[in-house]
Symmetry: C2
Subunit: 220 residues, 2 copies
DNA sequence: GCTTGACGAGGACGATCGTCCTATTACGTA
DNA sequence: TACGTAATAGGACGATCGTCCTCGTCAAGC
């Protein structure tokens, strides 16, 4: 029951629509609210520690519709939650890039805002992918694939930004990997140690590193 | 049942003895084998996905002795597993420091050997603490405390090494945090992406960074 | 106006969970 | 040899797990 292909889950719309309002729907659909609640609960206490009952209770959604919206079972919910979490992070990165208009600044701001949000949630709301990924790799092929896709997407987005800033493709890939690893590790350490410091330290270091790197590659 | 102090678990010898052979015991004790198996299973599939039955079956230890050796229940087993995992990492770091006789070299070797071991295990054997920590923070106070203690221990060991190499205490703490965050993030990414590259990239970067840092601080 | 299907409601189902129990065996000490 | 403690053995226990089922509701399409 755990050796799925990762492809046999019907893509029932997934979590692409931002927030319903498609055909006059008054509030977020049941399915959407289930996924949003899953993102919060999964990154708080993980996949296996979150039961359907806990989820529908927290989301205020009907218990009976769970397998109507997610015929693939809890695994499909996990995939949808990771996909939504991935979307949220991508949107946040894009927003920070626009706000700071500087790649090193955006990376530092990413670390800082992540640290602030983590602290505000009493060190609970870490990465929406890491916990589930570590729990389910490689036990569930579908969740493994979704986690991998999320990381690759974030890494690719960063790499493209470095390339756009004049960094050579190979080095850009390395920098993207390094940034993502530092942020993920910082999130992990900050959460467990209950301190913003690891993420702040990572942010400052990356800011200095990327500043030098971009100046060297694009010396105009 | 989850709001323990983390101190009320009787230290029944813990996981200190290397491998039995204390009074003519032919093989590792039941308790020790349970903990060792728990380290492997917990970091593979996490805490909640590993049941007592799975564990005693994998360890080949008597099912009836579980609550004899761990009257604190599964939570106590989790704490013991994290403690043992922490010991193993500390021993590995010390060994690498002796082997390479260079702090940057030891950090790079840490990344490389971690990547190799991860790949050899088919990208299963990641950090022995991270998975359980993310799952159980802050749900279980005892496991949270144990995870935090492990990270602080590793961080402290690194910081002391930097101080011994002439780095000022404040900067040494930052570097230690940065190294640990990079390694943990690298382990996470390498595992999910099924590639040694993230850990290798982190290792190379840290090697260069620390080389410059130590040369600057101790210019003899 | 009747059919159809999406969706909400609630619970049954067997499996498995962590926990805890009594009985029995192994073994150091007197 | 007798005995007390440690350890093993195996299963009972209630709770909860993920899954799946039937039924009621309601809006849209012919």
């Amino acid at each position: 029951m755990s050796s799925r292909e990762g492809q046999d889950i019907p893509p029932t719309g997934e979590a692409r629509a931002p927030d319903a309002t498609l055909s006059g729907m008054p509030e977020a659909s049941t399915r959407q609210r289930m996924i949003e609640t899953a993102v919060h609960l999964f990154r708080r206490q993980g996949y296996h520690a979150t039961s359907w009952r806990t989820l529908v209770e927290a989301a205020g959604t009907p218990w009976g519709s769970a397998y109507h919206h997610f015929p693939g079972g809890k695994e499909q919910l996990g995939v949808a939650a990771i996909d939504l979490g991935s979307d949220v992070v991508v949107a946040q990165m894009r927003e920070l890039l626009v706000e700071t208009r500087s790649l090193p600044g955006a990376v530092r701001a990413w670390c800082r805002t992540s640290a602030e949000r983590l602290a505000e949630s009493d060190y609970i709301e870490g990465c929406p992918v890491a916990t589930v990924a570590l729990e389910s790799t490689p036990e569930s092929a579908a969740i493994t694939a979704a986690s991998r896709k999320a990381f690759e997407r974030w890494c690719g987005l960063l790499r493209d930004q470095f390339v756009a800033n004049g960094v050579k493709r190979k080095r850009a890939g390395e920098l993207a990997t390094l940034v993502l690893a530092s942020v993920e590790g910082g999130l992990l350490l900050s959460r467990v140690l209950r301190s913003k410091e690891p993420l702040f330290v990572a942010g400052e270091h990356l800011f200095v590193l990327l500043g030098g790197e971009l100046r060297a590659e694009c010396p105009l």
